[in-house]
């Protein structure tokens, strides 16, 4: 299943380890060669790939970091890694922007009355050691630690260290800690953890809010698995129903969105349990459990459910039948966030449903568990802080956590950090809401620069290794702890060694060879057989206790949802310019987080999109611009988490607002999970409209006479529907293959045939121009709309690979975004709840209208069919963009800025465009050239799949395929014969080389 293509193999050969490359610096602009004798695996102009593990979220995908002249310029998925199999999400892509972030703290900072005082790392370390020793002297439990989820070895080190300091092991703080799911698992399966799911084997998915395409557990992995079960094969595809009050990206990919009142999921779940019994399921259950369940679920008849939850009765009925027919159904509980007060019940119900419908529970891998399960419950975190508040003594170590931002602010426990007596140390690299409260900021190396072992799931060992030398000279966290805890008597001379010892002792590796192999391949990935669940079943009265108390659905009031963000996760991504610049796939709004409201609600309040509203809950108040969408129920207000940092560097400060402010500090009593929904006490317009949001160094000045025409929201889309044009097409599952037969080719928009950008695509009756030939290759791409989930990974990858400029909200508002590839979101004209995502990039037309109008041949047709854009020939007439029917050309209105050291990330193979120049997708021509060189050396032609543009490479669902059309056996060529194939606006006879496959939709 790991497809080890040529390209990957080359990469892995290239994979080295910085163990052999001690001296790479990151100052190439000073001297091109990092040092006098360059390490043997560093050849100037040639990339070296280092295998490591992504630490942008707890999922732990395997990555390959592309290192050129000693600096990492791009991160790609590690094809050997079972979690993500070579693919990577946009957050992972943006990891480099953490390392090169211009606002990164380069030296330790000590808080003084009059602000921060910079220390050397040695001083800071000594200072810290002092403090810790002092605290340890004072007595027990004087050293407290709060950390993000870390690898087993490192957390072991933490434990040892803290133990040495006579203190409790550290507390793992993750804003999204899946408490309710863990509790439910514990209740139902007797397993206090997070098993992973064999989603790919299911034929029916029912999710009560689990957003597994965005943030839930392991998005890249489940994205892939989802499309495996949801792709069309021989006329059938799995079915996916999403039950929730609003439309997340995951929900937008569902075949059916069963929109219900907030907190009504459990009602539906119970109803489904009742129906399951009706259909004679649950034989395997113990009788008293069965009775209990039946008692509880019996009142939830179809009508009752419909009435309580506000779902459409008839749809609900269909859902029941589909669910009963399903061979291998899989039910998910609540999502990562946006969890209501019934989350525990919902997750329990989900687990019970799984048990009822598939007593084998074959789709749950109980042995293969997600590491994030080690995160502590919110309740524990709060107790931790309460404890501190009681006696604010000793030292508090904070490893890359941001409680000040991620905990509801009202009566925030975090205030304890302000206490004099408590010496707080933050190992963070950024001045964020929490570290600014710390007394000492001691930045450590970031994941791309450091050693660790982080295995996202329990059946693999995945390495974290330095992919480049430290940019700031900060210490490895591991080394630091070794030194702090053991001083001279350290068990290992550094954490790297400590790590190898650990791995050796745990029998993961036998010898140096294994070690090196691990480093080469990024880990040890042999599969363990997943065991059966140990069904220590929930007891009847337990069920009664858990499910008896269901808080009633909130159909009346205005309910506010804070959803985890595809782009910023819990907010840790908010200072990565790419994540800000790439717009949210559903709202197409960049740089801001508006609050999504149903048009009906808006009309009642006399509001319109772009108005700034004030939301007030009993816990707090905040203001945000309004975004109008059918994607939320009337009465529901939705905002994504992650922005609104008071402090977090230039890209995050003042961008959007932080919905945590509104949330209740309380937790769900049983599971101890936070509650991400809240009832609004007031919701009113501020009368203001969103002005131009503050942004970093806004280039040039810009004032408008009269009205500012663009909508105030920094959104990149024009119309949300396609006005009956041939752009993003869908087809019903049942008419698979029908259309092509009845279709008789003509000249109109709808009956124009698919014409390949090859000589055979020309027809004397239609074409004024003679066909032209290409040399061996005619590059082309196939985009399968049925596979595209709109996750934006491709867009981010494109930014990373092609040095695409970051323009900021003001410029985006003016319509000057630079994205070469953007995921266009089209709503169905008849049903605005149905979404189709359309990756739009240069179509590399054979008869490209943009070319001939240029006075200087800047865009022209290459021998291999590419639509080349010669940057330094362009004089900026912009005629090409005018004449491009796909509007995919981008213009450099100004010189875009890469504040140091962000410029170190720039890809040396791609020109950085100066002002006044047109640019656009080049099919990553630099990669094609590279492949050419390789093929030439080996005296052969480029193999199919050898060239992969950045977007294709990273797409988690393999929606994009790239290759040579002239090769009859190439994958692209074969796909073009699929009857779903069509060209956007093909009747213009541009003969695009980007061929789309219609999305296949199905009714329940």
């Amino acid at each position: 299943m790991v497809d080890l293509t040529r390209r990957h193999f080359i990469k892995i050969l290239g994979i080295g380890s910085l163990t052999f490359a001690p001296g790479c610096t990151s100052r190439p602009e000073k001297n091109l060669f990092s040092n006098v004798q360059a390490p043997e695996d560093m050849v100037t102009g040639k990339a070296t790939w280092y295998a490591s593990t992504c630490r942008e979220c707890p999922a732990g995908c395997g990555i390959l970091a592309k290192n050129k002249e000693g600096r990492v310029i791009k991160i790609e998925g590690n094809p050997l890694h079972p979690v993500n199999q070579g693919r990577l999400c946009m957050r992972g892509q943006a990891g480099v922007q953490g390392v090169y972030n211009p606002d990164r703290i380069r030296r330790p900072l000590l808080k003084k009355k009059d602000g921060w005082q910079a220390l050397s790392f040695q001083e800071a370390e000594a200072f810290l050691k002092e403090k810790i020793d002092a605290a340890t002297q004072k007595g027990e439990n004087r050293v407290h630690m709060l950390t993000e989820v870390v690898g087993r070895s490192l957390s072991a080190l933490f434990d040892d260290a803290l133990h040495k300091w006579r203190s409790q092991p550290p507390l793992v703080f993750e804003p999204f800690a899946y408490e309710s799911l863990k509790t439910a698992n514990q209740r139902v399966f007797g397993l206090d953890g997070l098993p992973s799911y064999r989603m790919e084997e299911a034929d029916f998915l029912l999710s009560f809010g689990a957003d597994f395409l965005e943030t839930w557990l392991s998005p890249v992995e489940y994205g892939r698995k989802f499309k495996q079960m949801h792709a069309v094969n021989d006329g059938r595809k799995g079915f996916f129903v999403h039950v929730s009050p609003y439309q997340s990206l995951t929900c937008a990919n569902a075949d059916l969105w069963l929109s219900c009142y907030p907190d009504a999921e459990v009602v539906i779940g119970l109803g489904l349990i009742r129906e399951a019994f009706q259909h004679g399921r649950g034989k395997s259950l113990s009788s008293e459990l069965r009775d209990a369940l039946q008692d509880i679920s019996s009142p939830f008849t179809k009508d009752k459910v419909a009435e309580l939850s506000g779902v459409d009765l008839d749809l609900y009925g269909k859902l029941i039948t589909r669910l009963q027919q399903a061979r291998k159904p899989l039910i998910f509980g609540t999502g990562t966030g946006a969890i209501g007060s019934n989350s525990l019940q919902v997750d329990t119900v989900a687990n019970l449903l799984n048990t009822l419908l598939d007593p084998e529970l074959g789709l749950l891998e109980f042995q293969n568990r997600h590491l994030v399960e080690t995160a502590s419950r919110r309740s524990e975190v709060l107790t931790f802080f309460k404890g501190l508040a009681k006696e604010p003594e000793g030292v508090l170590l904070l490893n890359n956590v941001n409680p000040a931002f991620a905990l509801p602010s009202s009566g925030s426990p975090v205030d304890v950090l302000k206490q004099e007596s408590l010496f707080t140390v933050s190992f963070s690299n950024f001045m964020d809401d929490t570290s600014r409260l710390a007394d000492l900021i001691l930045p450590v190396r970031l994941p791309l620069e450091t050693w660790d072992e982080y295995s996202g799931t329990s059946h693999i060992v995945s390495m974290v290794q330095p992919t480049m030398a430290g940019l700031t000279g900060a210490p490895h966290l591991g080394d630091l702890f070794l030194r702090l805890a053991y001083g001279e008597k350290s068990p290992a001379k550094n954490f790297q060694e400590y790590l190898s010892i650990k791995l050796f002792s745990s029998g993961v590796i036998k010898d140096q060879k294994d070690w090196v192999n691990m480093l080469r391949e990024g880990g040890l990935f042999e599969k363990h057989a997943s065991g059966k669940p140990s069904p220590q079943w929930i007891s009847g009265d337990e069920v009664r206790r858990t499910l008896g108390s269901v808080s009633p659905p909130r159909n009346a009031e205005l309910t506010f949802f804070a959803a985890p963000s595809l782009r910023f996760f819990d907010g840790r991504g908010a200072n990565r310019p790419w994540l800000c610049e790439v717009p949210d796939p559903l709202s197409k709004v960049a740089w801001q987080s508006p609050v999504s409201i149903n048009p009906q609600t808006l009309r009642q309040r006399g509001l319109k999109q772009g108005d700034v509203v004030e939301l007030r809950s009993q816990w707090g108040t905040m203001e945000a611009p309004v975004y109008e969408t059918e994607g939320v129920r009337p009465g529901v207000l939705l905002m994504s988490l992650g922005q609104g940092h008071e402090l977090f560097g230039r890209y995050a400060e003042g961008m959007g607002t932080n919905p945590f402010k509104l949330l209740s500090p309380e937790v769900e009593p049983v599971a101890g999970s936070p509650i991400f929904t809240v009832n609004l006490t007031s919701f009113r317009s501020t009368g203001r409209s969103l002005g131009s949001a503050h942004t970093e160094g806004s280039q040039g000045f810009r004032t408008q006479f009269g009205i500012h025409y663009r909508l105030r929201l920094a959104h990149t889309d024009g119309s949300k529907v396609q006005h009956g044009r041939k752009i993003a097409l869908t087809t019903e599952l049942q008419d698979l293959g029908k259309e092509e037969k009845e279709q008789k080719p003509g000249l109109g928009m709808w009956d124009f045939p698919l014409v390949l950008p090859l000589p055979e695509g020309y027809d004397k009756k239609r074409d004024v121009y003679p066909p032209h030939d290409h040399q061996i290759y005619r590059w082309a791409m196939v985009v399968d709309l049925d596979r595209c989930i709109g996750c934006n990974a491709c867009a981010a990858a494109c930014y990373a690979e092609n040095n695409v400029g970051i323009v900021g909200p003001d410029r985006i508002r003016e319509g000057r975004e630079m994205a070469w590839l953007s995921i266009e979101r089209y709503l169905d004209e008849k049903n605005l709840k149905k979404v189709t995502f359309l990756p739009m990039l240069c179509q590399h037309c054979d008869n490209a209208p943009c070319e001939s109008v240029c006075p200087v041949f800047a865009p022209h047709h290459s021998k291999e069919g590419l639509n080349n854009q010669i940057f330094n020939r362009c004089i900026g007439t912009r005629f090409c963009s005018q004449n491009c029917p796909y509007k995919v050309r981008r213009f450099n209105w100004f010189d875009w800025k890469w504040p140091k050291p962000l410029h170190l990330q720039l890809n040396p193979d791609v020109t950085v465009r100066s002002k006044g120049v047109m640019e656009k997708c080049s099919f990553c021509v630099q990669r094609i050239k590279e492949a050419h060189g390789l093929a030439k050396d080996e005296k052969r032609e480029i193999r199919d799949g050898e060239v992969q543009p950045a977007c294709v490479q990273t797409c988690p669902t393999k929606a994009l395929v790239f290759g040579n059309l002239m090769d009859k056996n190439s994958q692209v060529r074969k796909l073009t014969e699929d009857w779903r194939a069509y060209q956007v606006m093909g009747h213009l006879n541009t003969k695009p080389a980007v061929i789309y496959l219609k999305k296949v939709v199905q009714e329940i």
Partner: protein
């Protein structure tokens, strides 16, 4: 003379009826349509010459105006011919019963015929109005008071302006309905102007011929100096260029745009056999010849020569009309389906036109520019 023409008419009629009776009625009707458009255009364009001169108060062409007005005599015939077209509808509207790409509302036989009939009535009505007042003006010249003459002139001007507008609009609608609709998918915004500029071009051709005949007939008596012919020739030359320009404007834009909905039309007509041959013939007859020849000043003043040249051009334009229509009417044709019958039918129309003009000149001698009546 008159006999010859009536003979033409009879021959043409005969050929037409024979064709209709035969197994190829569609051929007959196509020839009929082409000729109807062509000869009506000559008449409409011919009169336009006089009208334009009147509106611009240009003095140089006075003696030619009368001759131009004589073309109006063909209007009633043209109208009757148009009405007869109704019986051939099945053969001349390939879109009948075909896919109309949503144009059903516009392309319906009753609506089409009624609107065009109304249009023609208005146009011809104005034409006659102009003719009538023009004649009146000529008649009362000399005697009646300056004042009444002024009044007449004023009214004449109003009608003239209206005629020009009607000319543009009605010919546009005709061009859309009778010619462009032959390929319902195809559109070209310049097509209508192209049509009425062409009509004026033809009108000037016809006028030149008539003027030349008059000149030959009356020798020196005719108050048509060679400078008149020179100016007329220049105008003819100018419109030859304008016509070609309008063709190029359409061709270039469509060629460059490369949108099959548009290109297929010109590809079929100009780039694929057999039609491409015809296209070149038209181009040479109606543009290359007149262009190269009329660069020279002298030839413009040679009546006999001009008759030959103008006839050539008119033949070219006849073929051009044929080229526009026929490919849609005979999509399968592998050779250009012009037969002897087409020639005869054309002769018939020529006869009609000639008789009309002769009739006019005979009944209103003041139209003929001969010495005795002073030219003001």
């Amino acid at each position: 003379m008159i006999r010859v023409f009536s003979a033409f008419v009879l021959v043409g009629l005969g050929a037409f009826l024979f064709q209709i009776a035969g197994q190829h009625p569609e051929k007959a009707w196509q020839a009929y349509l082409v000729n109807f458009i062509l000869w009506s255009a000559i008449a409409q364009g011919g009169l336009l010459f006089s009208v334009v001169l009147h509106v611009t108060k240009a003095r140089w062409g006075r003696p030619l105006q009368g001759l131009a007005e004589s073309f109006a005599a063909f209007f009633p015939i043209s109208f009757i011919l148009y009405l007869l077209l109704f019986f051939g509808r099945a053969y001349i509207f390939p879109w009948l019963g075909g896919d109309l790409h949503g144009k059903e509302g516009w392309l319906t036989i009753p609506f089409l015929f009624s609107r065009d009939a109304v249009g023609l009535l208005i146009l011809y009505g104005l034409g006659f109005g102009y003719l009538y007042h023009g004649l009146k003006l000529k008649r009362i010249r000399g005697d009646a008071s300056e004042k009444s003459r002024e009044a007449l002139r004023a009214r004449l001007s109003v009608i003239a302006v209206l005629y020009i507008m009607a000319y543009a609009l009605v010919l546009s609608v005709l061009a859309f309905d009778l010619v462009m609709s032959a390929d319902p998918q195809w559109i070209s915004t310049l097509f209508a102007p192209y049509a009425f500029v062409k009509a004026f071009y033809m009108g000037l051709g016809g006028l030149t011929i008539v003027a030349a005949l008059v000149r030959i007939r009356h020798r020196e008596a005719a108050s048509l100096t060679s400078s008149h012919f020179h100016d007329l020739g220049k105008l003819f030359f100018a419109f030859c260029l304008l016509w070609a320009d309008f063709f190029y404007c359409q061709f270039l834009v469509i060629w460059y745009g490369n949108i099959p909905e548009e290109t297929s039309y010109i590809i079929q007509r100009t780039m694929t056999l057999p039609w491409s041959r015809l296209a070149w013939t038209v181009f040479i007859l109606s543009f290359v010849f007149p262009f190269l020849i009329l660069l020279n000043k002298q030839v413009k003043t040679k009546p006999r020569f001009m008759i030959g040249l103008c006839s050539l051009v008119l033949v070219g334009i006849w073929l051009e009309h044929y080229l526009l229509l026929s490919p849609s009417l005979n999509p399968k044709a592998d050779s250009i389906p012009i037969g002897f019958a087409d020639v005869l039918i054309t002769l018939g129309f020529l006869g009609l036109m000639a008789m009309a003009v002769r009739f006019a000149l005979a009944h209103f001698p003041e139209l003929i520019p001969v010495q005795q009546q002073e030219v003001k």
